[in-house]
Symmetry: D2
Subunit: 352 residues, 4 copies
């Protein structure tokens, strides 16, 4: 990313999650209430476990905003972990607190545990799971909410919807599938789509492979925890003829219009004025009450995977995170295209 | 990318395609024959048009390699465009040659033409198509071939295979589908997979969203021209239970082993020691003999899209390009993980 | 930077300063006491004003470290602004607190005020000075202290010394110069050097202009607030013969040795095994009790520049910040060269 | 750099030097004659050796420009090495040509030879000197000439002048000093300044250390081969009072004006509307006819450094390269600030 860069930090049971966003122009409106609404959306959805009640995340903005507007300087977002006081010793930064907890060594399939323990040379898998946990998506959603607020000031809106969970294809069926999984101690993933509307023509570019907007979106979405597949537009193109797939162009009121959107809003790596349609597949949550077979990395004995209380299905949350991720990419592109240092000159340029 | 950075350049009918690769350590073996083999693979495949015969691409290395080994300095690759002499006036860099050809103004659906003309403020669509053309993937494959040669020196290998074209699911059916499309002047896309084997555990990371290997691969693949969908591992996870999807771990000969690979070789954004399996969907080629309806951007009249000789189906080429793209990402990760300035120290570290 | 990336945030009178450091390997020792010592060094030095007493900065680490060692996940550093409670309304993030203070409109020469007000379209210069203030160097020193602790684990050490302040060339003279300036309400800059010892040979590279280590150091140092000049090694080379300047090489105990270090430890953009010697010039502090002539940007009347309590001379602090900046660059280079994911494999490689 | 990125490649006696520039908007005028003029300026100057006659560099543009204007796609520049036919075997990319020349093992002080041989594990120092040679600045000047042509379209101009060579401070004295050095087989460096005029207010920023324009310029200049010192504005600030140094502001014709420019055009890391004044010191050329003492890295015997025909003084060339380097930085900043995809919208925005 070129203008909108940020870093996030924080362990699942650490003191807090933090993000610093750098590269925002001055003068854009930022309201913490909007961010908190997005944080709430992330915590909801049928199939979530007990931790969601503990969390009830709210953001604090500690820099970069004054009197409701961005200063041009870096914006800091902080979300406190509510349960931290019970974890202070276990998550202590001090050497003397070592051994305050028994190491956790039973590798969980589907998680970062195995590769992480080799990569970072850790015996205690807690050192990995605290950061690899989906908990960190809370602060990512907060960052995305900042991006969304600015995109809104350009008239850009988004929404998402669940397409399939298990065999279910309607809300009613989703719930039935989730109930069934919960009963047997199992978990489910799902398929969902995210749509962004009112994007200007020409975000992204064909001139170099790493400027293609579809590629940037694919990275942002595929790196959402548990996402295994990303598509833009109609992903049945492999069984269609070119004459069926491509979105023909017509003239209406002196403008170019389309009757179809199989391209999902992107041609040649650029937005083409149609809605951006991204579909993603989330795998089932890998923390199961019904335990998976695995290996204890300390004894190298076969065993059952560790279980921490968890969700049965988190597809709705995953869609919210995906919205946030796409917001990062789009804001960066908007700021590159309608660049400037303050909101007045940028929005003036945009409106032309 | 951090170590392995490169830029490519060149228009479809310009003098040549060029790439500069910067960040390679010294001492790795590079053989132009290997690159030429990959260029040949890209030009083959059932369903390719006449231009493939003209092209017959070969690479010239003009810097960065001496006596068969990398120098550590930037490597330049050049592929001459064989047909350039017929295009010199049309592609001239000089102002005085303007008007050497009639502008091309009939927008082709599915291409960069429409968004490109608005973005770059061009009336002559040739200014766009010359670069947005898939021709540029030739030099990308050459860059990928350099990456692959180095990956080979780490014992890493890849292959790809076509899964589906139209309704066809076997080679015989692929050909029948392509013949049928060609007959009616139509085009086809397809679905294919690329597999990389023998990767070390722990490429990529969960610690920050933009370090996730799956995300980097998704960008590299989705930005291949015409690719609309990217999946890692089994992308039917949305209809499976967690207990069915996740790859349980067992002990065998004192090592952790798996019996399944639904994760496609990636857990927690890192390689886990299993083969990396990437599936992609290519849309049908948007240049059709059977013309699509569109608009002439100069007159704003509805018309039929411009046709330049083209392929019926290029899924095999697309798979070769995809292999190359993934090679970029993997080499960058390998060089970050087993870093050093020369092949001796890197390979020594790797072998441990 | 490639591995060691970070962002800092925070206004001078905001709630706190924050930094997130991303890209550190796991297993390196981090001790907050070391960071606090560096923060104290930054606040000391002859010629500092009253605010230094208020500040007495201490760091809190809220992520990325557990039981005294890095986790590989991002490290968050926070320094509270002690005086914040008196500034809550003035620095409020809420729109409703607007007008809680009269705008500040008298442009201070030598500061960011003038260009900042045009760039970011601000009438109230507080929106600029709160971030352009040297206050932000506190958190930069904290980040540098993390880098230094890791560099120490590679045996790399640094020190700095003041060369000249005004006409003074010894500590006694420095104090006399500062006393004289303070008396008349004026300010002073100075010249100082920073030396890093025990660096490995071959950090940086000549292969591409943006890999040259001297260039990276120059950026890091010149962007320290108030620094106007950066030199590496003997900067009188413009009046010397080549035969006088270049550091001849000799053999001693089977090793290559030098008797001079005019190159300041860098040849061909790389460390050459000699101490890295960087000299910098700090301009006088631009906030003077004896006011400078300027213009009020609101009325466009000529006036005298605004004065906030300030220091007479801060060259010692500037040297501490410069040490920190160079630490960023060196750590990034070290991590690129002796790369790996955890301290064990990195240090093992380094020791060979 | 964010928009204007480029890579250069090529060995001193390789076939050619190449650069690819990516990120230029469409529609800017590019004329190869302008580039060739800059290449000629780089080759001139009192004190240059015989190779300058052989070289007589001219550029070929092989992509990214059509009918005199940028296409938005990457621009490729190529400069052939005239003498290549005599070096084909020595610089061959093929393994079988190994041993076509005796290895070169006598380390030259002041060059990349020593550190480079350790870093890249080379016994033959030619593998280093071919890229570390100042020859590569020819293509860097070509890239800078492209940047300058675009900057010119924004009304931005530059010039440079020599300040001191040896003890000489006037052109006449420069020549006398150079003659004297040449006679005794020695070399000289010098001090020079580069000035850019008519820059808009507000390039660069104070909001984050790596956005400071002075820092970016310092990197660009310090990484010019042989430059050891960079200053912006008056670098005697260390001996002046604040009241003497800072550039007071006055009102004239309703505008803010200055009577001095000690800041050298930069305050708070941003352009302030005054001319940008950069001073640099070049060390004496390290290749001397009068040989330096050194060590043969193959035998580890003390010996005299290898001499290849060289220049006595190249300060004028160094100033031309420095102009080019600063042009990269300024163009990137201009394109970030007045961003857009084509020259029409960018220049329209700029003119407001």
């Amino acid at each position: 990313m070129n203008k909108f860069r940020f870093l996030t930090a924080g362990e699942s049971h650490g003191k807090c999650l933090t993000a610093i966003i750098e590269g925002l122009p001055s003068g854009f409106e930022i309201n913490p209430d909007f961010i908190n609404e997005e944080l709430k959306r992330r915590q909801m959805g049928y199939g979530r476990g007990a931790r969601m009640q503990i969390e009830c995340d709210t953001v604090e903005i500690t820099s970069g905003v004054r009197f409701g507007k961005t200063l041009g300087s870096p914006v800091t977002l902080v979300i406190q972990n509510k349960d931290y006081e019970n974890w202070q010793k276990i998550m202590s930064i001090y050497t003397e607190d070592l051994n305050s907890e028994k190491s956790f060594t039973k590798c969980r399939p589907g998680h970062a545990d195995y590769a992480g323990s080799i990569k970072y040379n850790f015996k205690d898998l807690r050192n990995i799971l605290e950061r690899s946990s989906a908990r960190k998506t809370a602060i990512e959603v907060a960052v995305g909410a900042v991006a969304k607020q600015i995109l809104n000031q350009f008239g850009i809106k988004c929404y998402s919807e669940i397409i399939q969970i298990g065999q279910g294809r309607t809300e009613e069926e989703f719930h039935a599938e989730i109930d069934r999984a919960k009963e047997v101690g199992d978990t489910l993933g799902g398929k969902f789509k995210v749509v962004y509307e009112n994007l200007p023509v020409g975000l992204g570019s064909y001139v170099h492979w790493d400027r293609m907007l579809d590629g940037k979106i694919a990275q942002a979405v595929m790196s959402v925890p548990a996402v295994k597949s990303v598509s833009i537009g109609n992903n049945h193109g492999y069984k269609m003829f070119g004459s069926e797939f491509h979105d023909e162009m017509f003239r209406e009121d002196g403008k170019v219009v389309r009757k179809t959107n199989n391209a999902g809003g992107i041609e040649g790596g650029m937005t083409n004025g149609e809605p951006l349609v991204v579909t993603a597949v989330m795998k089932p949550i890998p923390t199961l009450r019904k335990p998976l077979k695995t290996v204890d990395l300390s004894s190298m004995e076969e065993c059952e995977a560790h279980f921490e209380r968890s969700d049965t299905c988190a597809v709705e949350a995953c869609a919210v995170v995906t919205e946030a991720r796409i917001a990062y990419v789009l804001l960066d592109e908007i700021l590159m295209k309608f660049s400037g240092d303050n909101s007045d000159e940028i929005l003036e340029k945009y409106r032309k």
